[in-house]
């Protein structure tokens, strides 16, 4: 009886949390595009423009390519689509607590919902990017494998990784505002350490290992594999990414909860 009441109370609180996260995520998307003329179309224009630029630079000027003969523009756009979900989610999450000082002063609510909503809000942009990617894949006539259904758990893994890092960075950003500046630099380097613009297949085994032991490298390559080839380049390395994701999530949440009492004081 007592257990049932505890479970009921907790389920009720989870429902309130979900509602709160949904509201904050919608607010995030709305405020981002509210006073712009093109509104949500920006979510399509950005990846489209990036794809054209990179396709021109790498494909036309540098004649880069992949070992399996896939059009490089499709390869890059796929990498960018999945990378942007992570990078944009992380950037939004990092500033989510420090950017909500007024809200924190007025209302009591669990602070963990702020980075959560910031990461989830980026799913809207991601869906538009995915539509652009689908057009490119169809346009270049690249075959898609049925294993693309496994993209869902891989995307979840990527989101959890961004979520965990989001907890960590949003809490640190309250104490040190350099964090967001530093994060931009780190992401600029990190993108070259993950197989976003660099093809791993056909590289030396040790280099491939290094690329895929980076959690984001392992996840992005697995997403690309599931979309196009149907077999993982390195299934063993994906387990390393899973282990790091879980660690980052728990460590991030732990640090967030530790710093949380100082939020109202600092902000």
């Amino acid at each position: 009886m007592k257990l049932a009441s505890v479970v009921r109370r907790r389920l009720a609180s989870v429902r309130v949390w979900i509602e709160l996260i949904r509201n904050l995520a919608v607010r995030d998307v709305e405020t981002r595009y509210k006073h712009s003329i093109l509104g949500l179309y920006w979510a399509i224009i950005n990846p489209l423009l990036s794809a054209f630029i990179y396709s021109f630079v790498f494909g036309t000027l540098l004649h880069s390519g992949t070992s399996d003969g896939q059009p490089f523009v499709v390869y890059i756009l796929t990498g960018f689509t999945f990378w942007n979900l992570f990078a944009n989610g992380l950037l939004s999450a990092a500033g989510s607590v420090s950017g909500s000082a007024a809200l924190l002063a007025k209302l009591y609510f669990p602070r963990v919902v702020l980075p959560t909503a910031a990461v989830l809000a980026r799913l809207i942009d991601f869906l538009f990017s995915l539509a652009v990617l689908a057009v490119f894949i169809a346009g270049y006539g690249v075959a898609v494998h049925w294993t693309l259904v496994f993209l869902a758990p891989l995307l979840l893994l990527e989101l959890v990784f961004a979520w965990g890092l989001g907890f960590l960075l949003s809490a640190l950003n309250v104490l040190y505002r350099d964090v967001t500046q530093l994060l931009n630099l780190v992401l600029m380097v990190w993108i070259w350490l993950a197989p976003v613009m660099v093809a791993v297949n056909g590289r030396a085994e040790w280099l491939q290992s290094l690329f895929l032991l980076d959690p984001m490298g392992g996840i992005i390559q697995a997403e690309r594999d599931m979309l196009f080839t149907g077999h993982l380049t390195s299934p063993v390395s994906l387990w390393s990414a899973i282990a790091w994701t879980l660690f980052v999530f728990f460590a991030g949440l732990s640090l967030f909860k530790r710093i949380e009492p100082a939020f109202s004081e600092v902000l």
């Binding site: 390195s234 387990w239 790091w244 660690f247 909860k257």
Partner: protein, 489 residues
């Protein structure tokens, strides 16, 4: 062009639904999250290192290959199909019934899942030691120091990096059983002991001696339960499982019982081992971290928790195989839960947290020594041209019989027939067998001469043709049956 969202259709955020002060769960308590972060951080680091060793073809211990084949055989051929490594089902090696659920994990997640499960299982020991420390009344700072020492303990780190072994999965179960015994929960104790004993029968000796220790503490009910469970598992294994599924060495019940208990008939061997440099090295690697922990504050050093751990160490010293006295493999792992519980029992009582330099200094020193030792032993002999090696290995059909050196078998053993070259020389080779040889890499048990003889025999007799021969890597495929040396004689 009309923007998709031109105006705010509703209030972006209303203060009304946010009266949620109920916590989602006790997991969100920072202290608990912190403990889980330690467990998962260890899991992540050790999984990455194991994966790196695997990717660089450095998993030379052969156990990973043997267990991969055992799991493949259980899933595809059934429990009783003999392993090509041992000649009998691997279930009969240590009566590791955990292989049954593991075969499903291997089927779904492959080698990475095994390595990750092993790292997580050993990492969980930190959480359970913290729990035991809480039960014993050890201060959180001291408990954290002991937990960290456990994670860095040579046996734990070495077992994780060495290869894969099911006994590593038994460790959390034994620690949970210890916690249950301290809390006086008989049912939980029995349940966790059964789980532990089903992982590997190598736990019979420490669990039986633990039962005796509990009886000496006048905890009769728990002592009898523990000793009885160990006896039942030993009897079932020695009388039924090992004679039926084990090799010829354990067909007699007496030999099987000695094998289950991990004991040697040579009682004087312990004296011989203790006089050898190897024996001392073994003891120093084990005892140095433990004595460092005891310096945090000795109270009840002489406690009965040492008994099961010491029993395992003595049994290892009497063992004839040199691997038994290595502090870097799984053979000493059954002692670890008891040794660390003994340390915690020695440190029970309120105490100030250890000073930071006191903890960090020895940890840094240990990591430097351990890393140097690892680099000098396990991280050397990376086969040259691993990119080509991977490509050549991928040319071997997934179900074809294969002969390769031990570092390659870790990659190729997930099939019905996989053998070392020395065994193939003795037993012969069936037609359609693929032989992968890298004579330049001598890591492991196969001497280079054996590789040369195998290739020469297969080629000169016209039984095999070369499929690939470049950069020190040779891949052959047999056309007809090649008789073994013993068979020809």
């Amino acid at each position: 062009m009309r923007p998709l969202i031109a105006e705010t259709r509703r209030e972006p955020f209303s203060p009304t639904p946010v009266a949620c002060e109920t916590p989602v769960g006790s997991l969100l308590i920072p202290e608990r999250l912190n403990i889980w972060a330690w467990v998962l951080g260890y899991t992540a680091i050790l999984t990455t290192l194991s994966v790196l060793r695997y990717n660089l073809w450095l998993a030379t211990g052969l156990d990973l290959g043997m267990y991969k084949q055992a799991l493949w055989l259980i899933w595809h051929r059934g429990l009783q199909y003999p392993s090509s490594f041992t000649g009998h089902p691997l279930l009969g090696l240590h009566a590791s019934y955990i292989l049954l659920p593991l075969s499903l994990l291997y089927r779904v997640g492959g080698t990475g899942a095994l390595l990750c499960a092993q790292a997580f299982s050993l990492g969980l020991g930190y959480l359970l030691l913290r729990r035991i420390a809480e039960t014993l009344g050890v201060s959180p700072g001291t408990a954290h120091a002991v937990g960290t020492a456990y994670l860095l303990f040579p046996v734990v780190l070495g077992s994780n990096l060495f290869d894969f072994h099911p006994v590593t999965l038994a460790l959390p179960a034994v620690l949970a059983a210890i916690d249950a015994s301290l809390r006086g929960r008989g049912r939980w104790l029995a349940a966790w002991l059964v789980v532990g004993l089903l992982c590997s029968d190598t736990l019979v000796l420490p669990i039986f001696t633990w039962g005796l220790a509990l009886l000496m503490q006048r905890r009769t009910r728990l002592g009898l339960l523990t000793a009885a469970l160990a006896t039942i598992v030993a009897a079932v294994d020695a009388l039924l499982v090992l004679p039926h599924l084990g090799g010829p060495g354990v067909s007699a019940p007496a030999a099987a019982l000695l094998s289950v208990a991990g004991l040697s008939t040579r009682a004087t061997a312990a004296l011989v081992a203790i006089q050898s440099l190897r024996g001392w090295e073994y003891l120093i690697w084990l005892l140095a971290p433990l004595s460092g922990l005891l310096a945090l504050g000795r109270r009840q050093v002489a406690n009965l928790w040492w008994v099961p751990g010491v029993a395992v160490v003595v049994a290892n010293l009497t063992h004839t195989t040199p691997a038994a006295t290595s502090p870097f493999n799984q053979l000493t792992l059954p002692a670890v839960p008891f040794l660390f519980t003994a340390v915690l029992a020695s440190l029970a009582g309120p105490a100030s947290a250890p000073r930071r330099w006191f903890t960090l200094g020895p940890v840094a020193l240990f990591l430097i020594v351990f890393a140097a030792h690892q680099v000098a032993t396990n991280w050397r002999n990376v086969p040259h041209a691993i990119t080509s090696l991977t490509a050549v290995a991928n040319r071997i059909p997934p179900t074809a019989p294969v002969i390769a050196q031990n570092f390659a078998l870790a990659h190729l053993a997930g099939r019905s027939v996989a053998r070392l070259p020395v065994v193939a020389l003795r037993k012969g080779m069936a037609p359609g067998t693929y032989i992968l040889l890298v004579p330049g890499t001598t890591a492991g048990t196969t001497p280079t001469t054996a590789l040369g003889s195998l290739e020469a025999r297969a080629i000169s007799l016209g039984h095999a043709k070369r499929i690939y021969h470049r950069g020190g890597i040779t891949l052959l495929k047999t056309k007809t049956r090649t008789p073994g040396v013993a068979g020809r004689a």
